[in-house]
């Protein structure tokens, strides 16, 4: 994690804005290879949007080939409502830059089928090649998007009920009338954010100090959802001095030292160049016991042992499984030994639920029913030659991720 402390809010916002501009320009987006930017709403990023708009007007950056995905939107208020996030983004950012409307994605809180809207949103992110940089603010309680305390760290885009305190706090924007305040919202999940190739978080002001401390100095915890950022290979937090109030002097000094040394050496703490310019590749969450996949050159969000109990299961994405229903999942978890026979279709549950070594028939992992009929409980007595199986193997996608 890169952590930058700036003197005040404008300096912190300027740092983030400059970083984003630098990223976009270095990326060199084209229509076929756009830069995909995740965007937040709220008071924190206002300064960043202002500077980005100014930089656009000064000709320092173009949003011509930038695709954006917003984090969240209220359910049930019109798009042109003054408090909607559509309005916010239009007012503070989109109207000031040359972004094309068809490249802008904001969840539709008035969609007839909200769940389908969420699934589609995740699919759109995938179709755009995944998010290159997700900008985020930090909530006072450490939330990211509407992933308030207690949200699953493996969550995906979904419908979220707002906490009563949030509704009360929001009522000031709705004529102090609780009835008018949206009670629900659509939001990307923590996992959605973690799958971005890079996450940049801005935390401003003393009110964010405790959350910042929890997210940096303490462990990953769903009560401070942003702490999941510790699992991300390329995360960056930028804050002002006020937000460091709860941090240890040691922490602050450490990160300031790094920043100082890096700058003195002329070495910016940037991403490896391949990540910064490389062609978009849809990142896949890897659930593994061995941490083999991500390298510095091909960052992959990793859901580690810490998160392995339930990968984001609310909305299957491109699952080839005919019906991955939850009851079978529970069944599988309860009786691991049945997994190998039941797990013949590619479902999102197709992985060992315990790390214990279990004898395994390779054929059972292939999932070709024709082969499975031929699989025997005892691999040693299997007479098929490997060659006979291999043509099928090549056609089989990997099954260890949630997307197969």
């Amino acid at each position: 994690m890169r952590f930058f402390i700036r003197d005040d809010a404008p300096a912190a916002s300027a740092h983030v804005a400059s970083y984003i501009v630098e990223r976009i320009n270095h990326f060199g987006p084209t229509p076929a290879h756009p830069f995909v930017l995740g965007l937040p709403t709220g008071s924190t990023p206002l300064g960043v949007y202002k500077i980005l708009a100014d930089k656009y007007k000064a000709g320092e950056v173009s949003f011509e080939n930038v695709v954006t995905f917003n984090m969240d939107e209220y359910i049930g208020i019109p798009r042109d409502h003054p408090e909607s996030y559509h309005t916010f983004m239009w007012k503070h950012f989109f109207s000031h830059v040359n972004i094309h409307p068809s490249n802008v994605h904001i969840l539709d809180g008035n969609a007839p089928n909200l769940e389908a809207e969420c699934v589609e949103y995740e699919a759109k992110i995938q179709a755009a090649g995944g998010i290159d940089l997700f900008l985020a603010g930090m909530g006072e309680d450490g939330h990211i998007a509407f992933n308030e305390p207690g949200s699953s760290l493996a969550s995906r885009t979904r419908v979220k009920t707002l906490a009563y305190g949030t509704i009360l706090a929001n009522s000031r924007f709705f004529d102090d009338d609780l009835d008018q305040v949206p009670k629900m919202a659509l939001t990307v999940g923590v996992q959605t954010v973690l799958e971005a190739r890079e996450v940049v978080v801005l935390a401003l002001g003393a009110r964010k100090a405790l959350a910042l401390q929890r997210c940096i100095e303490q462990g990953v915890n769903h009560m401070w959802t942003l702490s999941a950022l510790q699992l991300h290979p390329h995360s960056m937090i930028v804050c002002d001095e006020d937000a460091t109030l709860e941090l240890q002097v040691k922490t602050v000094k450490y990160f300031k030292d790094i920043d100082q040394v890096a700058r003195a050496e002329g070495f910016e703490q940037i991403l490896p160049s391949k990540v910064r310019t490389g062609p978009s590749k849809v990142p896949t969450t890897i659930i593994t016991d061995e941490f083999p996949a991500p390298t510095i050159l091909s960052p992959q969000p990793t859901t580690s042992r810490l998160l392995r109990a339930t990968p984001a299961t609310e909305y299957p994405l491109r699952s080839r499984s005919p019906s991955p229903d939850a009851s079978s999942a529970r069944h599988l978890l309860a009786t691991p030994e049945t997994e190998y026979t039941q797990n013949t279709e590619y479902s999102m549950y197709s992985r060992a639920s315990t790390p214990d070594l279990m004898p395994d028939s390779m054929a059972s992992r292939i999932g070709d029913p024709a082969l499975l009929r031929r699989a025997t409980p005892n691999p040693d007595s299997q007479r098929l030659t490997p060659r006979a199986v291999s043509p099928n193997l090549s056609a089989v996608p990997r099954t260890n991720g949630i997307k197969v």
Binding site: P31, A32, P34, K57, E64, N65, V67, R79, D80, H86, T87, W90, K91, F94, S95, H96, N98, H100, P101, S102, N103, V104, I106, A127, A128, G129
Partner: protein, 466 residues
């Protein structure tokens, strides 16, 4: 993978975005953008266009921090550039001259106006009024300034307050048929009740009104009548006029405070060039000006009339302008009362005034009826009046601009369509720059510290016309 970035629509949508400008919004100048469509001629809701219709503006106009105001609305204009609305000397040329005037007038920032016809003979009204009715239905930007309907100033005026109007032709109305006889019934009748194909000379002319009952601006050719309410049955005729959508303005009148109040109660909503051609304020009978001092009844809306002020520096003392403005800021409308000599060199100009030969002498901005010393209208422009007002009163720019935009629009019942920059309004715009405003760091430019607004650009129906 298909490209997720769609190329910008090559099809021109005619949308222009104004940015880096200060918009006149109510009492403030607001830094914001405005999107206008030349296809609909209206200000569009940019957020909806962006999210719902995936529209990007064809053209982005950076105004460099200048002021973007709604187009001005002139409520008292007798003619300009040598063309007098009150003339029947050369009727075949009337339509052409009117079109020329509209194209020139729009360059002064006046995008809509109510052409004013002074006290004239019956025959002249019937000839010219069909030309002067609402002309915006065609929505052609190149036509220039748009008539919102004619303003007939007379002849039902008080002979003792005639100004330069010929007292010999002033009349007293006793019934509605007197009005119809004078102006012609067709000119007092809204389009929906009227034969859509009048046999007037206008039907072949492109600049005259094209009536359509669906157009809210389409109404009778006459939009406003200035009359002296104390004469004849005029006060009792006001409701019949307002029922036809015709506004009644008190002017050229000896009306007392009581008579003026009665006229206002009957439905008069305007005072024509306040202070000029009426009794001066007397502290025991405040006269027409007094109705601006009425306190609205509790829980009742303000029913005080609007009033026109000629802030040309000649008709009114600057202090008088300021007093009137303070009396009823929301009712003040700046007008020029300009004659056809505006835009012409000094000299002696013939003038149709009912009967006989008359001449008006122009010397600088002063117009006098030859041989009388009576002020005969002005030869100023509306933007000059706005600048004058700023200097007379120390008002803010929004307060001054409001008097030529939102307030006249409200008076004429076209608020929301004209005189504002809200989505759905007609995209009539004026770009203004400031001279001599200390806060702009150009203190010396206006000379003597005078603050001045200058019309840089004019847009009509979303198209730049100046």
């Amino acid at each position: 993978m298909p490209s997720v970035v769609r190329s910008a629509s090559p099809r021109h949508n005619g949308i222009t975005k104004f940015t880096n400008c200060r918009l006149l919004r109510g009492e403030e100048l607001v830094w914001d953008d405005v999107w206008v469509s030349s296809a609909t001629g209206k200000v569009i809701r940019s957020q909806t266009a962006f999210y719902d219709e995936f529209i990007m503006p064809d053209e982005v106009v950076d105004l460099g921090g200048r002021i973007l105001s709604p187009g001005f609305i002139e409520c008292q204009l007798n003619g300009a550039y040598g063309f007098n609305f009150s003339t029947d000397n050369d009727m075949p040329q009337y339509g052409k001259q009117l079109r020329d005037l509209n194209k020139k007038l729009v360059q002064t920032g006046v995008t809509s106006y109510i052409p004013t016809v002074t006290s004239q003979s019956r025959s002249l009204y019937k000839k010219v009024l069909p030309y002067l009715g609402p002309s915006g239905a065609s929505r052609r930007p190149q036509d220039g300034a748009e008539s919102l309907g004619a303003h007939v100033e007379g002849p039902f005026l008080n002979p003792t307050k005639n100004g330069v109007h010929n007292p010999a032709i002033l009349r007293v109305a006793e019934s509605f048929s007197d009005l119809e006889e004078m102006y012609g019934a067709a000119n007092l009748t809204p389009a929906s009740e009227f034969d859509p194909a009048p046999s007037s000379p206008s039907s072949s002319s492109s600049s005259v009104r094209s009536r359509s009952s669906s157009d809210p601006l389409s109404s009778a050719p006459i939009k406003m009548i200035t009359a002296a309410p104390e004469l004849g049955a005029m006060t009792s005729l006001i409701p019949a006029l307002t029922a036809r959508g015709i506004l009644v303005s008190i002017g050229h009148s000896e009306a007392t405070y009581e008579e003026a109040s009665t006229a206002v109660t009957a439905g008069a909503t305007m005072i024509t060039h306040l202070f000029n051609a009426m009794r001066p304020l007397h502290h025991r009978n405040p006269g027409i000006f007094g109705v601006l001092g009425v306190a609205p009844a509790p829980n009742d809306q303000d029913k005080r009339p609007y009033f026109g002020l000629i802030a040309d520096g000649i008709h009114l003392h600057p202090a008088t302008v300021k007093i009137a403005w303070h009396a009823h800021p929301a009712g003040m409308i700046l007008v020029t009362d300009a004659m056809h000599m505006v835009g012409l060199p000094d000299g002696r100009y013939p003038w149709t005034n009912g009967e006989g030969e008359h001449y008006i002498v122009k010397k600088g901005n002063v117009l006098e009826l030859e041989g009388t010393g009576i002020i005969a209208g002005s030869s100023t422009t509306l933007i000059e009046c706005v600048s004058n007002f700023l200097n007379y009163t120390g008002a803010t720019i929004p307060q001054a601009l409001r008097a030529v935009t939102a307030t006249p629009a409200a008076m004429l019942g076209v608020d929301g369509v004209k005189g504002c920059l809200d989505a759905g309004a007609d995209a009539d715009l004026v770009v203004l720059s400031e001279l001599g405003f200390p806060e702009k760091g150009s203190e010396r430019e206006g000379g003597d510290g005078r603050r001045e607004l200058v019309v840089d650009e004019v847009w009509k129906f979303g198209v730049r016309v100046f």
